[in-house]
Amino acid sequence: MQTIFLILYPVVAASLILLIKGERVKQAALVAALVELVYAVAVFVQFKPDATSQFGYDYAWISSLGIRLSGGIDGISVLLVLLTGLVVPLIVLSTFERSYSRPALFYALMLYMQAALMGVFTARDAFLFYFFFEAALIPIYFLAAMWGGENRVPVTFKFFIYTIFGSLFMLVALVYLYYQTPLVDGHHTANITDFYRLKLTPEAQSWVFWAFFIAFAIKMPVFPFHTWQPDTYVESPTPATMLLAGVMLKMGVYGLIRFILPVVPLGVEAWGRTAIVLSVIGIVYGSIIAIRQRDMKRLIAYSSFSHVGLMAAGVFSQTETGMQGALIQMLAHGVNVVGMFFVADAIFARTQTHQLDQLGGITKTTPKLTVFFMIMLLGSVALPLTNGFVGEFLLLHGVYTYNHYIGLAAGFTIIFGAVYMLRMFQKSMFGTPSSRTTNFADLTLSESLVFVPLVVMVFWMGIYPQTFLKVTEPAVANLMKYIGTTAVSLK
């Protein structure tokens, strides 16, 4: 039941918000998002750390095909549910000092997006998953294309076509898998756990692997499917970018864990190495390009591309630490990237630029921004005691166990990450103030309030990650055991 609330409540709230006129929309949207957050936290606290799916629902949907409305939260979903609940109120709060035209539609789309994301992370029926996976795309497309920068129309269009193209392949794979399930009461089933029991031939596993992989790789994105990403991140309005980078790209990583590993273990055996190599290329390539960037938003976009490559590599390492690392890093990256984009947004609001060479000397007048920026940055470069460290350590450990050399290459992410992040900090915050940054005002109260929960998360996850690791552990262990046995039984 709780899961239904998490999905339906934002839809209802968004529809009501559409009716509100004027500036009160912001407050209403914030209250609406906070209620969802409280609920998500309650679910997280009540979640019993074992391998079962909890808070579920299950109703007939398309009965003649055996497709059901069914969902629930297990150890793999739970952190993402928390993340989705956490990020949206912060994004809403981050817009308090800015004004967007047609605010009611703006915030409503954001809540619709949240509903779809909750749906993706909790669906237990493959077609329900697909339904939400695509449905999430519509609000974000309009958010990006209606309120974005100058080039928004072609850029977001490319993004849309790219992701739909990938998803359609996933649809083919899902329909194929559906027809491989045994008949029950005259129809097949689409429950994800039924897909886990399929015994597919190695050839079928290979192409299903690719159909899934292309869909998820575009979403994340993994090299070479990333070309839509930097432009889209730059052209979208910052709140939409936060949603894209903070939550939406996790749909891809989540898909890898939920579908690819357990459904086509032989496909992973055959092609997992290719996938890891692509991911690691993405890590190194993304970092190197990030070093060369002059635009803050673009730099963060490439850093995100690089980080997500590491998550993909961790998942394909098929180790328990790699998988745990991917899950914890999804939460950590969500927190960090939202913080980083908000820093860029705060600077843009005061200087009207993201160009590093037009900034400088901001620290002189802004103690609050400096401290918060630095903390988010340290989280991103994985300093010990911050959230990034835990995730990256586990991920690198996983990849290193899989293959030492690949692990070594992936490790560059830490060095390069420090290089481009510190360079960005130095160029924007230190040095002599430029004409744009003299009289730079420090963060307002509402802006500071956005950072407080983010900073709390950075340290909480960094100092005591056990809170989060222990809820995912049984599910990951179960999944690993499961993958091990199916792969053996298929041979």
Partner: protein
């Protein structure tokens, strides 16, 4: 059967109503006739009857197809209020012809005998030729009508030739008789039957504008008055696919091995031709013509993979497609009426290009939303009926293991998104004329109904399923 009688009688009554000077009664009368027919259609629900010595059959499937056609016609006719103001228009005749054409469409959905199929096809087609050319002052319309008529006659000839060959080889015109012959392959099936089947297929595929028999479509759709284009692209297509489905599933399912590859090839060709050429259109109306070709392709997937799901898939797809198409044409009608500067002599601009939609969503949120939902549905994006339509079609192909066809369909779906989204981009992200468009209440109702159906079936596709 009841709707056929009602439509014929009421159609003639409408003609007489045309003698009156005042035209105000015509539209309500036409709508009432359609509603009566729609209500009468369900009178025999869950019962199956044969009429005219087994020439025509009414069962739940026929009734569902009939209901889709009548419902589409109702929505389209509701949009025709402009006829009352147009001095040159002959609304009584138009409405009567539309009602008569529906009789043909229902025959195509319920035929049990090839002769009945032929009569149905002709009733529908001749009516369409006339309606296409009904804008007598417009050269485009005249040319389109002539083209449609000539090509259509050709197709009819082939259809009839095919029937003759089938009769010659199987000794029967009835679906059951042909099926009985085709079910005994031990004796060796006559080559003539295969040739006849191919010709039948060509004739019908022409009517639903499948490639490579689609060349008439863009010109005819473009030239015909928009309201009749909307009628054509929904009713004719539904009738055509009802007929194809019946023909293939009842009579020729035993020789599936012979025709499936041909049909699958035509399907792939239709998908590719329709979608790729639609990308290059600058006129929204022509884009809709190519889009209708591409949707014929998606519908054909279900036939090429004839199986347990096909019936449901075709019904669902026809409904989803018809509703979305009517909604799109309704918005086009409004935009073209109020933004065109064309005079009677043909000078000026007809507002049927994508640019005419610029900024529409800002001035008319309802029009923008309805159009956006319709485009999303035609593109097959979740939350809309179009998604499930495609989903069912893809399922049938997956059930038969025709993965290659699926891949073609998927690639072409991605292409489709390109041109459907051009409208959304124009409406939402571009600036255009400042004056809002006047929307009469009838248009508003039609758009709301179409949008609600599209979204309703998009979230609860199961609603339609347990019907038949």
């Amino acid at each position: 059967m009841l709707p056929i009688v009602l439509l014929s009688v009421l159609g003639i009554a409408l003609l007489f109503l045309g003698f009156q000077k005042s035209r105000t009664l015509l539209l309500p009368a036409a709508l009432l006739s359609l509603l009566l027919a729609l209500a009468a259609n369900f009178y025999d629900w869950n019962k199956a009857y044969l009429y005219f010595n087994g020439m025509l059959r009414t069962d739940n499937l026929t009734m569902v197809f009939t209901a889709i056609m009548l419902g589409s016609a109702f929505l389209v006719v509701a949009l025709s209020s402009r006829f009352a103001e147009d001095e040159e228009a002959q609304p009584a005749e138009y409405y009567a012809i539309m009602l008569f054409s529906l009789v043909g469409g229902i025959m195509m959905a319920g035929f049990e005998n090839l002769i009945m199929l032929f009569v149905g096809v002709e009733i529908l087609s001749v009516a369409m030729y006339v309606l296409t050319g009904s804008d007598k002052r417009n050269l485009r319309s005249n040319e389109a009508a002539l083209k449609y008529f000539l090509m259509g006659c050709f197709a009819t000839g082939i259809l009839l030739f095919g029937m003759a060959l089938i009769y010659g080889s199987t000794g029967s015109f009835t679906l059951a008789g042909i099926a009985g012959y085709a079910a005994n392959p031990q004796a060796g099936l006559s080559l003539l039957m295969y040739v006849g089947l191919l010709m039948l297929l060509i004739g019908l595929l022409f009517k639903v504008s499948a490639a490579p028999f689609h060349f008439w479509t863009p010109d005819v759709y473009d030239g015909a008055p928009t309201i009749f284009t909307a009628f054509m692209s929904t009713v004719v297509k539904t009738a055509g696919f009802a007929a194809l489905f019946k023909l293939l599933s009842v009579s020729f399912s035993q020789v599936y091995g012979f025709w499936w590859a041909i049909l699958a090839g035509i399907t792939a060709l239709t998908l590719i031709a329709g979608n790729i050429t639609a990308v290059y259109q600058n006129s929204f109306k022509r884009m809709m013509a190519y889009s209708s070709i591409s949707h014929a392709g998606y519908l054909l997937i279900g036939l090429a993979a004839l199986g347990t799901q096909t019936k449901q898939a075709i019904v669902f797809y026809s409904l989803a497609y018809s509703v979305a198409t009517i909604s799109a044409f309704a918005v086009l009608l409004l935009v073209a009426q109020q933004r065109s500067t064309q005079t009677l002599s043909g000078e000026g601009v007809v507002a049927e290009s994508f640019d005419s939609f610029n900024g529409l969503a800002r001035q008319n949120p309802l029009l923008g939303f309805a159009m956006a939902v319709s485009m999303l549905s035609l593109a097959g994006i979740p939350l809309t009926a179009g998604f499930w339509g495609k989903f069912y079609m893809f399922s049938t192909a997956a059930e038969r293991g025709q993965i290659w066809l699926l891949v073609v369909a998927v690639l072409m779906s991605a292409v489709g998104i390109y041109y459907y989204f051009r409208v959304i981009i124009a409406m939402y992200f571009r600036d255009g004329a400042v004056e809002p468009i006047q929307v009469s209440p009838v248009y508003r109702y039609v758009l709301v109904i179409a949008t609600v159906v599209t979204l309703g079936l998009g979230v609860m596709p199961g609603l339609l399923q347990n019907l038949f």
